[in-house]
């Protein structure tokens, strides 16, 4: 390669490396602050500020959803496997909101560590399955559970 072109190539590489290093350091510095939500264990560890608008996310615990019979109030727990957080919300939940699915709620933590949510979003996973296959998989799972119980 021509020496001038080689020099220009080196400059181009230097430019990309320098830009990557700068942005990489910025992303590293942002770190946890770039998270969209806190996990229940982060909140249990006191990492989330009280009485400030935050978001919390996790898996909606099976059997934890309690709906009020005469209003839109709903109470449910989200878990990340290590800690759980109780969320209160008064409003219409998204269609995909369900027990055993992930959800992200935005609101303020009260003194009892309950998140008073003003918005609840459903977070779906990256798996896609046809309904028949999902049914068959659920049945197989239930059978296995029954076998193990016996």
């Amino acid at each position: 390669m021509h020496p001038i072109r080689k020099q220009r190539l080196q400059l181009v590489i230097l430019l990309v490396v320098a830009a990557s290093a700068i942005v990489g350091l910025m992303a590293y510095m942002l770190g946890q602050n770039a998270n969209y939500f806190y996990t229940p264990s982060q909140i249990a560890a006191g990492e989330a500020p009280l009485a400030v608008h935050i978001r919390a996310g996790g898996m909606v615990v099976e059997g934890s959803v309690q709906r009020s019979p005469d209003s839109l109030d709903v109470l449910f727990d989200v878990s990340d496997g290590m800690a759980t957080l109780t969320i209160h919300y008064a409003g219409i939940l998204p269609d995909l909101f369900d027990e055993g699915e992930a959800a992200v709620a935005a609101g303020k933590l009260d003194e009892n560590s309950i998140l008073r949510a003003t918005e609840v979003l459903a977070k779906h996973d990256e798996k896609y399955t046809p309904p028949e296959v999902a049914d068959a998989m659920n049945k197989a799972y239930e059978l296995k559970q029954q076998e193990q119980a016996q």
């Binding site: 998204p94 269609d95 779906h124 896609y128 046809p130 309904p131």
Partner: protein, 257 residues
């Protein structure tokens, strides 16, 4: 200049006229390929693939969303590499490819963001959130628009080319950030369904049409880029004799002048 001989093929390929004439022969085939793949993938994905157990039919927007996002990212690398070749070898054609890639990439990024918003409303419950994935994708749109804007920001085409190429190269750092954002941070956007390291977390009946759509989008990208670049060649080389001859042939009665 002894080593220059080895690079002759490279410089011949960089000739706008060579590119214009060669791609002119490819175009009909590329049209057939693109339309065929696109039609197959869309009909297969939208009408024949099974619906999703949880999301129902709304998941089908994946057949546009994922291919558009793929090419929005891959196209950025193509644009940046074209810019680098332009900077290093001062190749005119390379800058023309870079400039042509910018509006196509911006359009694909917009499609990815728009279909994502349309998909987000029925599944997440919102059109838009400022999570790491969506925000970094919005930055990609601004980078594409920036590269395009710099082309028109200077009196001299040469300065515009250099400025665009430098912005394109600096912006490449955003691509791995977009790709890894769903793993590095907690985001509302779910992690990748299609991974390089493991099987896709999608039923084969749903994945096959998606694969067809991804290939179709690559083909569409090639077609759009070639068409844009050809126009750019004619515009920038309008004073070259071969372009003048081409124009005279195209214009009725032009030969008589």
């Amino acid at each position: 200049m002894a080593s220059g001989r080895n690079w002759n093929w490279f410089h011949r390929m960089g000739s706008p006229r060579w590119f214009y004439e060669t791609t002119g022969r490819w175009l009909p085939w590329l049209w057939v390929l693109t339309l065929g793949l696109m039609l197959t993938g869309l009909v297969w994905g939208l009408a024949f693939a099974p619906q999703d157990a949880k999301q129902g039919n709304s998941f089908r927007i994946i057949y546009l969303h994922v291919p558009a996002s793929f090419l929005a990212l891959a196209g950025y690398y193509l644009m940046a590499i074209a810019g680098a070749i332009g900077l290093i070898w001062k190749m005119k054609l390379s800058y023309m490819v870079m400039k042509s890639a910018a509006p196509i990439g911006a359009a694909l990024t917009f499609i990815a963001l728009f279909t994502g918003a349309v998909w987000g409303k029925p599944t997440w419950g919102t059109y838009w959130v400022w999570d790491a994935r969506i925000t970094s994708m919005l930055i990609l749109l601004f980078l594409y628009l920036g590269v395009l804007a710099l082309q028109y920001a200077f009196h001299s085409q040469e300065t515009g080319n250099k400025a665009s190429a430098i912005l394109a190269l600096v912006g490449t750092v955003n691509i791995p950030i977009i790709y890894k954002s769903v793993d590095w941070w907690y985001t509302l956007h779910q992690p990748a369904t299609i991974k390089f390291t493991s099987a896709p977390s999608m039923h084969p009946d749903m994945f096959q049409p998606l694969l067809v759509m991804i290939v179709a989008m690559y083909s569409f990208y090639a077609l759009a880029l070639i068409l844009h670049t050809r126009v750019e060649i004619l515009r920038r080389e309008r004073k070259a004799s071969w372009v003048r001859e081409l124009a005279l042939q195209a214009e009725p009665g032009g030969v008589a002048q």
